[in-house]
């Protein structure tokens, strides 16, 4: 059951999802936000193991999309495909299309490095560069790309403010990035990603290693980020998905089982597997 949608050629209008990928009734209201990214029949492998079995999913602009599902369902693989990070792993392979605005980022002349400049990513485990100070960590994207910044101080402050970390670190910017607490390190990583002004921010279980207070801070932050960014968040935690996400996609065994407004997914799931998962009967 292919979703009834037109895949745009380069330069054509943005794709519009008419129906839910499983072909069921489109629960989205007509005033749904426009689509920023769109995965079409996305398949991914690790060596012989197929991790994604044809995912078709829209990512809406200035919204938070949560990807939920049990371990090994392919949710991390999916977000890693959205900025071409999946192929960094040896023997990993991707097939299918992912559109950023109207352009297929798996198209023939696309440079994955350019894709990653426009789509930022935050990982499960906070990974600030241990050899760099807090300031250098925030500016790492620019310096690694070989770019010079005109007003680095301003950029550092802005990025750290957006990541809700400025007040905590403004006096210790020259300290090592790894001297911070786990939650602070994760926000530093968010600041590092935001310093590049990405259009989309991918977050792969950003809170799984954090305590509840640090998690709450990151969740508040995600709420604010939605104003200016498109956010995709992978989470194990269904309450978290319910709290932060506008749209939720449920993955199971490498397939997209259900996608819709978070409210709909949690209150009236269509698929019995979704219902079983969100009510905690498996996973």
């Amino acid at each position: 059951m292919e979703p009834a949608l037109k895949i745009p050629d380069k330069g054509s209008p943005k794709p519009e999802l008419k129906r839910r990928p499983d072909g069921s009734d489109p629960a989205d209201d007509p005033a749904a936000p426009q689509i920023k990214m769109f995965a079409k029949s996305l398949r991914a492998w690790f060596g012989p193991a197929e991790a994604l079995r044809g995912i078709t999913l829209p990512i809406r602009k200035n919204c938070v999309t949560a990807i939920i599902g049990p371990s090994g369902c392919g949710k991390s693989t999916f977000v890693r495909c959205l900025n071409r990070m999946h192929e960094v792993v040896p023997l990993a392979r991707v097939e299918g299309e992912v559109y950023l605005d109207a352009e297929n980022i798996y198209g023939p002349s696309i440079n994955p490095i350019a894709v990653r400049k426009r789509i930022g990513m935050v990982f499960q485990k906070a990974n600030p560069f241990p050899t760099m100070s807090i300031r250098q960590n925030v500016l790492a994207g620019l310096s690694l790309q070989g770019l010079r910044c005109r007003a680095p101080e301003e950029l550092v402050e802005n990025a750290l403010r957006k990541a809700a970390l400025w007040d905590e670190v403004k006096d210790i910017l020259d300290r090592s990035g790894v001297s911070l607490s786990g939650g602070q390190q994760q926000r530093l990583c968010i600041a590092r990603a935001l310093a590049l002004e990405p259009e989309v921010l991918l977050m792969d279980e950003p809170c799984s290693a954090l305590d509840p207070i640090a998690t709450a801070k990151i969740e508040d932050l995600i709420h604010e980020l939605r104003e200016s960014y498109t956010v995709v968040i992978v989470t194990h935690n269904m309450q978290q998905a319910a709290r932060v996400a506008d749209f939720t996609a449920f993955f199971y065994l490498g397939e997209l089982i259900e996608y819709g407004k978070t409210e709909t997914i949690f209150k009236t799931p269509q698929d019995p597997r979704t219902e079983a998962y969100i009510t905690g009967r498996f996973g």
């Binding site: 990653r116 485990k125 690694l144 590092r192």
Partner: protein, 312 residues
């Protein structure tokens, strides 16, 4: 259910708890201790001999003669004991070796750790390490009979014995060690840091040189220092190809003599034991020992990551 494999209860109950530890067990401990002590005792013995002989040497030769002169002619009628003539030979050949080995070694390490796929890495790394296992006398004649004539085609003023050719060949000998140890250090850098860099739009090259290498700094530094200390201690190559002419110079084209080569020269010659000439080799040996000891201490501290925090 698993009672078949366990000791039957009736037997276990008969094992006395207060039995003395068997004599054999204790004996093994003593034997192993002696083996371990051997290396320490040997080192202490060497240091002791060095100190005794060096003290005897300095009873006849003043520090001023030793450190305040640049001529080294203890075997001649007019004796000079200026150690700098030998130190310059060692420093010059080692510097050439390090300038060859470090760039080559780091590039090889970067390739193996960050660019090569697993198959190439598994093939290339051991074959590179074979280079480090070739006897140094082979390298010595390689320098003398191949490298020097080759270099003379480009540098006509190069003498038959010189510092350049053995320096380069030492570099070739050392670089696999530098490469292998640096590669170990780089390979151990967590993947999460590489991914962080890639996700920020960094190229593989930028990731390698700006993220992976700085993170592996202590390991790379230790490998470089180990290379330096091998270059300083290397004897055969310089004894064969550098010329055995003590000379205070930093010109790589002329014959020089290193501290190690001088020790070989005297040991192989007909210098009677117990004479001042004979004792010079202990004084030189002492200087050499201090050099390598200092480097080993630095390398050790680097490996312990003591300097890790000051990388920044």
């Amino acid at each position: 259910m698993s009672s078949e494999t366990a000791i039957p209860r009736s037997v276990a109950a008969r094992i006395p708890l207060r039995a003395p530890r068997s004599l054999r067990e204790r004996l093994v401990g003593v034997v192993l201790l002696v083996c371990a002590a051997c290396s320490v005792i040997t080192t202490l013995g060497i240091v002791l001999v060095l100190i005794v002989e060096t003290t005897a040497f300095f009873r006849e030769v003043s520090f001023r003669q030793f450190f305040g002169d640049i001529q080294w002619t203890p075997l001649f009628a007019k004796k000079h004991f200026g150690i700098w003539a030998l130190v310059s030979g060692t420093v010059l050949t080692s510097a050439i070796a390090i300038l060859t080995a470090v760039p080559l070694g780091l590039m090889a390490a970067a390739y193996l750790s960050e660019f090569a796929n697993e198959r190439i890495r598994r093939l290339l790394k051991p074959s590179m390490e074979i280079l480090a296992g070739i006897p140094t006398v082979v390298y010595g004649y390689f320098a003398l009979t191949f490298m020097t004539p080759l270099l003379q085609k480009f540098i006509p003023s190069l003498a038959g014995f010189n510092a350049l050719s053995p320096g380069l060949v030492m570099g070739i000998m050392i670089f696999p060690t530098v490469a292998s140890l640096s590669e170990d250090a780089m390979y151990a850098v967590p993947t999460s840091l590489r991914e962080a860099a890639y996700a920020l739009g960094a190229t593989r090259l930028a990731t390698t040189f700006r993220v992976v290498m700085p993170s592996a700094f202590s390991g790379i530094g230790a490998s470089v220092i180990l290379g330096v200390s091998r270059a300083i201690g290397e004897t055969m190559i310089v004894a064969i190809a550098a010329g055995q002419q003590p000379r205070f110079t930093f010109d790589p084209r002329v014959p020089v003599e290193t501290m190690t080569a001088y020790i070989v020269q005297v040991s192989l010659g007909d210098t009677p034991t117990g004479t001042l000439e004979y004792r010079t080799i202990f004084a030189v040996g002492m200087v050499l020992f201090v050099f390598t000891l200092a480097l080993n201490v630095v390398a050790h501290r680097l490996r312990q990551g003591v300097l890790k925090d000051s990388v920044q």
